[in-house]
């Protein structure tokens, strides 16, 4: 549609400002005269305004707003009048004339903002630590309560969750561990082969996979996969007031949501870790066989049995339940901490994944120190 631009004409009769408007006063056309008109209004000294709308072909809220700028300078303009225009244009203009501006956006001083955020982050860290610790306490009280009275264990949801956490994750865990086993074998083939000790790559793959990598890789994967899922599921329930509904019905959220997730993790993570160990060793075995080192599977397995002590397997396995509990606790706790907004769900999911991965690596490091001191 072709539209004529917004045209205006201002003149002064004594202290009376006469504004004659022509053409289209719409959001497309009026924005271009906004600053000019504003300056014109500022330049003139007036006490009342008279608007002539006879020439206006189209008027929308933006146009009306820009036109009535003169009236809204309250300490200057004492009265105003309208001449011409359709009834709806008159209504629109009077609405625009007595509209009040909102507060300016909150001011942003860069360094105050930075300090403010730093302070808030510190307080939040303290709150978060306290809340996590009290959550862990509450969790263990409930957990042992359920263990003493297994009737309160929700078998159905535990099994459904085991499928979600364990079975569904099995392929990705296996593939990932296989790839890592293969990578380590390649490194061993290169470095040890140069020294003529290529057969030691069996020890390298075996010990690193069993002792550290299988457990940590699995736990990190589940931390990313299931901790986020727990937070999102429980958080969405929280947002839709399902949690409130459960509380009112006398269902304990810990018993119905948190404990089944913890038990599902507790049962599946060791199995997944075992799968990762097998798969990782298989990856190493195949690489050892197909590269120029040419260690046959038979030789690989017999050397593995001979050189790699069973204690490495147990060192890897014993960590799995700790990872499991921590992942479940962090996922559920962040889910229950979700408040009403979509933003908070997003940030809680992020926090859950970050915390869970952080905790897994921290626990692994603590175990490494412990086993070193014990000489295991």
């Amino acid at each position: 549609m072709l539209s004529t631009p917004a045209i205006y004409d201002v003149s002064l009769q004594g202290t009376r400002l006469i504004v004659k408007a022509h053409g289209h006063w719409t959001v497309e056309t009026a924005a271009s005269v906004f600053e000019r008109l504003d300056a014109d209004y500022d330049a003139l000294n007036y006490e009342s305004v008279e608007y002539h709308l006879q020439g206006v072909e189209a008027l929308d809220t933006a146009g009306a707003y820009i036109l009535t700028k003169a009236v809204r300078v309250a300490d200057v303009c004492k009265s105003w009048e309208l001449i011409g225009g359709t009834p709806s244009q008159q209504t629109l203009l009077s609405v625009a004339a007595d509209c009040q501006m909102g507060d300016p956006p909150r001011s942003k001083h860069q360094w105050i903002e930075t300090l403010d955020r730093l302070g808030r982050a510190t307080v939040r860290f303290a709150d978060e630590t306290f809340a996590t610790l009290s959550f862990i306490g509450q969790f263990f009280v409930m957990f042992f309560g359920v263990l003493i009275r297994p009737k309160r264990m929700r078998l159905k949801s535990i099994i459904a969750l085991m499928e979600e956490v364990g079975l569904d994750a099995a392929p990705i865990v296996a593939v990932l561990a296989f790839a890592i086993g293969a990578v380590i074998a390649y490194m061993g083939a290169n470095l040890l082969g140069a020294l003529g000790f290529s057969v030691f790559m069996v020890d390298l793959v075996g010990i690193s996979m069993l002792r550290e990598l299988a457990g940590v890789i699995t736990a990190i994967l589940i931390a990313g996969r299931s901790a986020s899922a727990f937070t999102a599921q429980i958080g969405a329930m929280k947002m839709r007031q399902e949690i409130d509904a459960m509380t009112v019905m006398g269902l304990d959220t810990f018993e119905t949501l948190v404990i089944p997730r913890a038990i599902a993790c507790l049962l599946t993570l060791p199995i997944l870790t075992f799968l990762a160990m097998i798969s990782g060793i298989l990856g190493g075995l195949i690489v050892a066989w197909v590269t120029e080192t040419q260690i046959s599977p038979f030789l690989f397995l017999s050397r593995l049995q001979e050189m790699v002590d069973i204690k490495h397997f147990w060192v890897g396995m014993v960590k799995a339940p700790f990872f499991a509990i921590v992942i479940a606790i962090i996922g559920c706790r962040q889910g229950l901490a979700v408040s009403g907004s979509v933003d908070s769900l997003g940030s809680r999911v992020t926090t859950a994944v970050v915390q869970a991965i952080f905790a897994v690596i921290l626990i692994d490091a603590l175990f490494a120190i412990l086993f070193y001191q014990l000489g295991v």
Partner: protein, 278 residues
Amino acid sequence: MDAPDPKHTPPISATGILTQFGPNIIHENLDFEINRGEVVGLVGGSGSGKTVLMNTLLGLKEPEAGELRYFGKRRADLNADEEMSLKNDMGVLFQGGALFSSLTVRQNIMVPLIEHHDMSQDLMRELADMKIHMVGLPPESAILYPADLSGGMKKRAGLARSLALDPQILFLDEPTAGLDPIGAHAFDTLILKLREAMDLTVLMVTHDLDSLYAICDRVAVLVDKHIAVYDSLDVVAKYDHPWVQEYFGGPRSRAAMATPGHKKSMKGAASMRAAAGL
């Protein structure tokens, strides 16, 4: 293309609409038309497909068969520019307000302005504030986030955003649901005021009988997969269909009809406020 007088072509007309979800037929052979400047109420039982019809008219859902015309032009014939300008001509207030929760009220209203218009930030902010004023929100609410607003304020803020581009057609999905009677009546009054100031055509999906009596020019009843009757409220209320009779003959309806001077009056609002001791 022949363009008849835009004042008289209906902004929206739908003929022979068929809507289907799998084997489930929602609308069949549905005809619907809204005239310029009308406030039309759309009623129907739960699950009769009122919201689906609104989504179809908005272009959110493609009907399986039938024809949609906007200002006389078929939707299928519109090119990308025309489609965009049509979208700018339609404003929607969704049931929950559908405000972007990470933005303040003012920023929410500025979103369509930023997307579609080239103007200074200051002017945009001032226009947003004007919309806030027009929907009757206090100026302080400009810098609040949706989470800080009450249900009624959220609806008003959503309405302000839907009016940001000065649409010609306004769609309201259950605008008064979840509001207290005073808030609901004030909202009705607001719609009438805005229609007058902005020359709006309004389609309102509603269950609120008070709203129907207070502000709708015509009421369309969606039963048996099509618009069974579409006329002024007095005619619709007498229509011989079991659902319509139950709907308008029920005690709630009679109570709403008994409100003194129900049709398009501000008296109703005043008396209600007086009754509430305001």
